[in-house]
């Protein structure tokens, strides 16, 4: 009997000991596996030095990010205290109660003005225009383009281009020029191709690539306020935008049917393509000579304008949210208070993170820090995003199902694909009583 009592006491002591180690503060932030997550780890190391609270940034590959995060949320798990989640998760995560409501925090610190307006609208607020906030804009991001300056500035190429198209070879100002240049540099015999675009249909790669064309052609995915899609997603300008995207696909390197950010950076580093679409967050690797042998001859330009002069880009980036099931919510809020300070945001930008702070973005120091920061600053005021409703994943898969066969295999027509998509979306919204 006594031996059993000793055993129980020992077990209790062990439980107490392990719970005290929880009290010695630790915070875990969940994010996808990419460079900005490493920069964030560097940033939070400074928080630990200041406060003694140990913060760990835990990562998982992009393809699993959504699945893993939502599996943990749905199980009401407390493994993560905060998550730097995708903008389109806001609806699903806020309606299910996975995220802590940050509206009071937001208003108290006047974040609506401290952060750039587009980042507040897309990374933080749900439903749109509701004044309810669920995240703090953390990593601003949008699609931009990189190009081979040496190919563009080669006098022979410039002469040949002018002779063929009647205007000077320079970074494209609109999508027609983008198409011409892609066609011009597309030379499979020389193992050189025109352009690298997003085509991966396993998550949101292809859809965001197509969005760049649709938004710049003056189109929309639907009316986000009343869920109307017919006549909007299958509008004439969207059909034209999709047709052009399909044409661009014919100027991509061989086997370009499952390409996302990794492949599109490779298109530049491996001398495959003249121009490549990618998120600004992946450009640091392109100016670094260790990761890009062509770093010196790589240039950047913002997403070009459409035929009507509209110029928009697909939004990437994420906001940081506190998870409702965390056991350290108070400590997490303290961390956020530190994170939104001007000095922290400035340091975040220095480390390579894309701050959403309007003041830091507007400063000359930031804009001159890299060859692409100015293009980033301009783009962040012209971004649009996908649906953020809780059923966004179904909408995304439906768009992939309809658009992918047309883009990569030329099946059917753009009009047919978008008409069918309008039908799918309408049905989905009806199903959820929107």
């Amino acid at each position: 009997m006594r031996r059993r009592m000793i055993g129980i006491a020992g077990g209790l002591a062990l439980v107490l000991a392990s719970s005290t180690s929880v009290l010695a503060q630790e915070l875990t932030i969940f994010w996808a596996e990419w460079d900005p997550a490493n920069y964030l780890q560097e940033l939070v190391n400074e928080y630990e030095a200041e406060t003694g609270v140990q913060v760990t940034v835990e990562t998982t590959p992009w393809q699993d990010f959504q699945t893993k995060a939502f599996t943990e949320f749905n199980a009401r798990g407390s493994a993560y205290d905060m998550v730097v989640g995708d903008s389109q998760w806001l609806g699903a995560a806020s309606e299910a109660g996975h995220y802590v409501d940050l509206t009071d925090f937001f208003n108290e610190h006047n974040l609506g003005e401290v952060m750039a307006p587009a980042t507040v609208k897309y990374y933080a607020e749900y439903p749109s225009e509701s004044g309810k906030f669920w995240a703090i804009p953390a990593e601003g991001d949008a699609v931009g383009w990189s190009y081979r300056k040496d190919w563009f500035e080669d006098p022979k190429e410039m002469e040949a281009f002018k002779a063929k198209y009647g205007y000077d070879l320079a970074p494209p100002k609109d999508w027609k020029e983008l198409r011409d240049i892609a066609e011009f540099f597309h030379r499979p015999d020389e193992n050189r191709y025109g352009i690298a675009i997003y085509t991966d249909n396993s998550y949101d790669g292809l859809v965001m690539g197509v969005e760049n064309a649709i938004f710049s052609f003056g189109g929309e995915l639907g009316d986000y306020a009343n869920y109307k899609v017919d006549g909007i997603i299958n509008s004439d300008q969207n059909v034209k935008a999709l047709e052009l995207y399909r044409e661009l696909y014919t100027y991509t390197p061989p086997g370009w049917a499952k390409s996302f950010f990794v492949e599109n950076n490779q298109a530049i580093t491996e001398n495959l393509a003249a121009m490549s679409m990618n998120y600004f967050a992946f450009f640091p690797a392109l100016v670094n000579e260790a990761s890009n042998p062509n770093a010196k001859v790589t240039g950047f330009f913002p997403n070009p304008a459409g035929p009507g002069g509209d110029q928009f880009a697909a939004l990437g980036g994420q906001g940081i949210s506190v998870i409702s099931y965390s056991e350290n919510k108070e400590e997490a809020m303290k961390f956020l208070e530190w994170f939104i300070k001007d000095e922290t945001q400035k340091r975040w930008a220095e480390l390579g993170g894309y701050t959403a702070s309007a003041a830091v973005l507007g400063s000359d120091e930031f804009q001159n820090a890299t060859p692409y920061n100015k293009a980033f600053y301009e783009t962040m005021f012209r971004v649009k995003d996908f649906w953020a409703t809780p059923e966004y994943a179904e909408l995304l898969i439906q768009m992939n199902q309809r658009v992918y066969p047309y883009i990569t295999a030329g099946e059917g027509s753009a009009k047919e694909a978008l008409d069918a998509l309008a039908g799918d979306w309408k049905e989905t919204f009806e199903k959820y009583g929107r």
């Binding site: 939502f70 749905n74 299910a96 061989p254 086997g255 370009w256 495959l272």
Partner: protein, 301 residues
């Protein structure tokens, strides 16, 4: 009853001295297994059957509403789902047929006295021992149109194995054939070595041709064990996920397991995906039953 079917405990044994009976020992062994099966197999099976009649979503706090057969109706009316089934059927036929032809062929070659037979057999079994994900990633590199070794060796230039919607499924099937033919080979080899030699001697005396010998002696005698290999491979091929998911994302390679995964863990349509899983389960059980019936018939012969 128990005394008839079980060996009695040795009265001198330690268990007997502790006062344990035959029955309590039997229960000690069986009950944990039964509990394990009930908790991890039977209970989830029934629980998901209930969910398949609801609109439950694991991603929300909303309660599950009873929707009757609506999920099944919607799934069976969805043209994309039918495409997924057609793709899967095509894949199963190509992949299993390929494995049987290659596996049985290699087994025939190995079923004779050759030097290093054991070593060769072991080496041939290697693909089967690799992880599916690793095989998928390696073959993706081998198929690469720019630097892949397959195009180089076959002189195909820049042929796009995995980006070509018509070719992608066959490319995945070829990988599966490479990986799992050794399994069929192993079982066939066991079957072949069990064929009595005197039958061949008798056939030789009667001057039977090699084809006649093969179809009248070898194949019928190996058939039962070959059928077992086919049953296993069909069931596996039916639920193929990892290889296809890793190698390509063509809609023409979206097999039911991949669609099911997306429905359950990306869209979080838990109720609907339970219904889908049940449809797949019923199909697999039906197909396996046909095979087993056929297997019994073959055995009777």
């Amino acid at each position: 009853m128990t005394t008839l079917t079980m060996t009695r405990l040795d009265p001198q044994s330690r268990a007997a001295r502790r006062g344990m009976s035959d029955i309590s020992i039997r229960n000690l062994f069986i009950i944990p297994t039964i509990l394990f099966l009930i908790i991890f197999n039977i209970f989830p099976l029934l629980y998901s059957l209930y969910y398949s009649f609801t609109d439950f979503r694991a991603s929300t706090n909303a309660p599950a509403n009873w929707v009757g057969l609506a999920n099944y109706r919607e799934l069976l009316n969805d043209p994309f789902i039918w495409t997924n089934f057609t793709i899967t059927a095509k894949y199963v036929i190509v992949s299993v047929a390929g494995q049987v032809v290659v596996g049985f062929g290699v087994a025939m070659l190995l079923n004779r006295d050759i030097p290093f037979k054991g070593l060769i057999t072991t080496l041939l079994l290697l693909p089967m021992m690799l992880s599916m994900a690793v095989v998928g990633l390696f073959w993706k590199l081998l198929y690469d149109p720019s630097f892949g070794i397959i195009n180089y060796v076959l002189g195909l230039g820049r042929f796009e194995w995995l980006s070509d919607p018509d070719m992608a499924l066959y490319a995945v099937a070829i990988t599966d054939i490479w990986m799992w033919s050794p399994f069929v080979m192993l079982l066939s080899l066991a079957g072949l070595s069990a064929v009595p030699k005197h039958l061949y001697e008798a056939a030789a005396i009667d001057r039977a041709g090699p084809l006649y010998t093969f179809f009248r002696i070898t194949l019928p005698l190996v058939a039962p064990i070959l059928m077992i290999a086919i049953i296993f491979r069909t069931m596996e091929a039916f639920k193929t996920f990892d290889i296809a998911y890793i190698m390509t994302s063509q809609p023409t390679t979206e097999m039911i397991a991949i669609r099911l995964y997306k429905m359950a863990f990306q869209e979080w349509q838990t109720g609907m995906s339970c219904a889908f899983a049940y449809i797949v389960l019923i199909m697999v059980v039906a197909i396996t039953n046909i095979y087993v019936k056929y297997l019994n018939k073959v055995k009777e012969r």
